[in-house]
């Protein structure tokens, strides 16, 4: 058990180091500053006092960058190992293939969550300074559910990395995430309006697709709505863990059958 934890820990550490070595975070930070700083001093029609637009754009950037980091990190873990053939020494070690998948997944997740924590801390400080509202409960819930989002998308990207080429994986993951964020909430009404066979396809997407829109609390944070019930938060996080477990189970099965 102790050995198991040490092996997984080592794999997590490698993924974390990989993110910070590539300086992705610095690029993302600079980009955010370039976009947000001029907007922070903007007063339309010479009237100051508007702040929600800035919160909206800041949170949009947080979502965009966290998705890019999460999917990017998870999608490139295995292909890079196969390409540089470093997978062979790894497989030669006394570690099961299932544990390699789990360790790499946890590493990708830890790296993405660490970046997300930095983003939310910066967002919380920005809001506190501008609006004197310091880390409300709904922001904490938004952060928690955002972790749920990363749990799902990193598992999805990892599964895709064992099934497709990296570019196809990134494209498909991107389309799925954006598609579900935009249309996920409206799927039931779209299903009702569609004739067969489109209806059957949409029903399948609704039943099996990753409902990443569950994790999006931006509307509540930006417009000062009340927090979500903790029971709903728990259900959504359970959904994330269940979905990720299914993806990882499939990824583990694929990796075990893969001829390297």
């Amino acid at each position: 058990m102790k050995m198991c934890g040490r092996q997984t820990g080592a794999l997590v550490r490698v993924a974390l180091l990989d993110l910070y070595r590539r300086k992705d975070l610095i690029v993302v930070w600079l980009l955010s500053l370039v976009l947000l700083l001029p907007l922070a001093f903007f007063s339309p029609f010479g009237i100051s006092g508007a702040g929600r637009y800035l919160n909206e754009i800041a949170l949009l950037l947080v979502w965009l960058f966290s998705a890019v980091i999460g999917v990017g990190v998870a999608a490139r873990l295995f292909p890079a190992e196969f390409e540089s053939r470093t997978i062979f020494p790894l497989l030669a070690k006394p570690v099961t293939r299932g544990r390699i998948v789990l360790g790499k997944y946890l590493g990708a997740l830890a790296a993405s969550v660490s970046a997300l924590t930095v983003f939310y801390l910066a967002y919380g400080v920005l809001c506190g300074l501008r609006q004197s509202v310091w880390f409300p409960v709904v922001l904490f819930q938004a952060f928690l559910l955002h972790i749920g989002f990363l749990i799902v998308v990193t598992a999805l990207a990892m599964l895709g990395s064992l099934m497709m080429t990296p570019s196809a994986n990134l494209t498909l993951c991107g389309l799925l995430i954006v598609g579900m964020l935009v249309f996920g909430q409206r799927l039931p009404s779209l299903i009702a309006a569609q004739p067969y066979p489109g209806k059957a396809f949409l029903m399948l997407v609704h039943a099996l697709g990753p409902h990443v829109e569950f994790f999006d609390l931006r509307q509540r944070v930006i417009h000062g709505w009340s927090r979500v019930g903790w029971d709903v938060c728990a259900v959504v996080l359970l959904y994330a863990i269940g979905y990720a477990a299914a993806c990882l189970g499939l990824a583990g099965w694929l990796f075990c059958r893969k001829k390297v």
């Binding site: 903007f42 339309p44 029609f45 508007a50 559910l145 569950f214």
Partner: protein, 268 residues
């Protein structure tokens, strides 16, 4: 070498419109954004205006609400936020959805399903989107009118509203709606009857209503402008002018409330 190439490009850019004057697809005075985006600018502008409307409804879109930004006086909580929780019919429906479609149930719980309007003291939150809508497409007259309404009525800056409408008028000189809004703004917010009258008078030549339902908006604007012109004429004692306005309005839209109001005003 680079500078030479850049200079050559600029010179070519300056020469081409002169050499091929009249035979180029662009209209003189159009900016780069217009050339690149074309009609997409109007769509972008409408999307930004829709975003402002979403902000007015507390960030909730797809709201089945009859109140637009320009038709409600401040915050009107016309739906009890706790209604869904307390009403037994709603509670039963939510429970049914929970088991029939759990994903829709979660979405309904995570995303706000309530209905509220922005208070007047928070109306500044709408301004960035309206500003962007006006800049995205100067041909979007609705953006200018909505912006002026928000500035004058909701944030208490009628001077800024007039400035915005004047900018809209400069860019859309043929739009009767903007001219009419300018008249209303001068009359109701800045209390300058003389200027308001000149703007209302300017509405009339711009209203060229087509036959049937297509010309409905122009006819309404015409009648409303005539109402204000008649009202202002009565205020300064020019009854002949007021009666002329009433006669013209009766010919255009005899059953309209403004015509009835003007008739009643002149009978007093």
């Amino acid at each position: 070498m680079g500078l030479l190439a850049a200079g050559g490009a600029v010179a070519l850019g300056l020469c081409l419109p002169r050499v091929f004057e009249g035979s180029m697809p662009q209209v003189p005075g159009e900016d780069v954004l217009h050339l690149v985006l074309g009609d997409a600018r109007q769509e972008l502008s409408m999307a930004l205006l829709a975003k402002a409307d979403e902000y007015f409804h507390g960030g909730v879109n797809d709201v089945a609400c009859g109140h637009g930004m320009t038709s409600v006086e401040g915050a009107v909580p016309d739906h009890d936020p706790a209604h869904g929780e307390s009403c037994p019919e709603h509670a039963h429906a939510h429970e049914a959805v929970r088991w029939r479609d759990p994903w829709a149930w979660i979405n309904g719980r995570v995303h706000v399903q309530e209905h509220r309007h922005l208070c007047n003291d928070q109306a500044t939150e709408l301004l960035p989107w309206i500003w962007a809508a006006c800049r995205a497409s100067p041909q979007n007259a609705q953006a200018y009118q909505t912006g002026a309404y928000v500035l004058a009525r909701m944030t208490g800056h009628p001077e800024q509203g007039v400035r915005l409408l004047e900018e809209g008028h400069r860019r859309n000189p043929e739009d009767a709606g903007i001219v009419f809004s300018l008249g209303e703004m001068w009359l109701t917010h800045l209390h300058d009857a003389a200027r308001a009258e000149s703007w209302f008078a300017a509405v009339l030549p711009l209203c060229r209503p087509a036959e049937g339902a297509v010309g409905e908006n122009d006819r309404l604007l015409w009648v409303r402008a005539l109402f204000y012109l008649g009202y202002l004429a009565k205020q300064r004692g020019d009854l002949a002018r007021a009666r002329a306005c009433l006669a013209e309005a009766e010919a255009v839209f005899p059953e309209h409330a403004s015509v009835k109001d003007l008739r009643r005003l002149l009978q007093q």
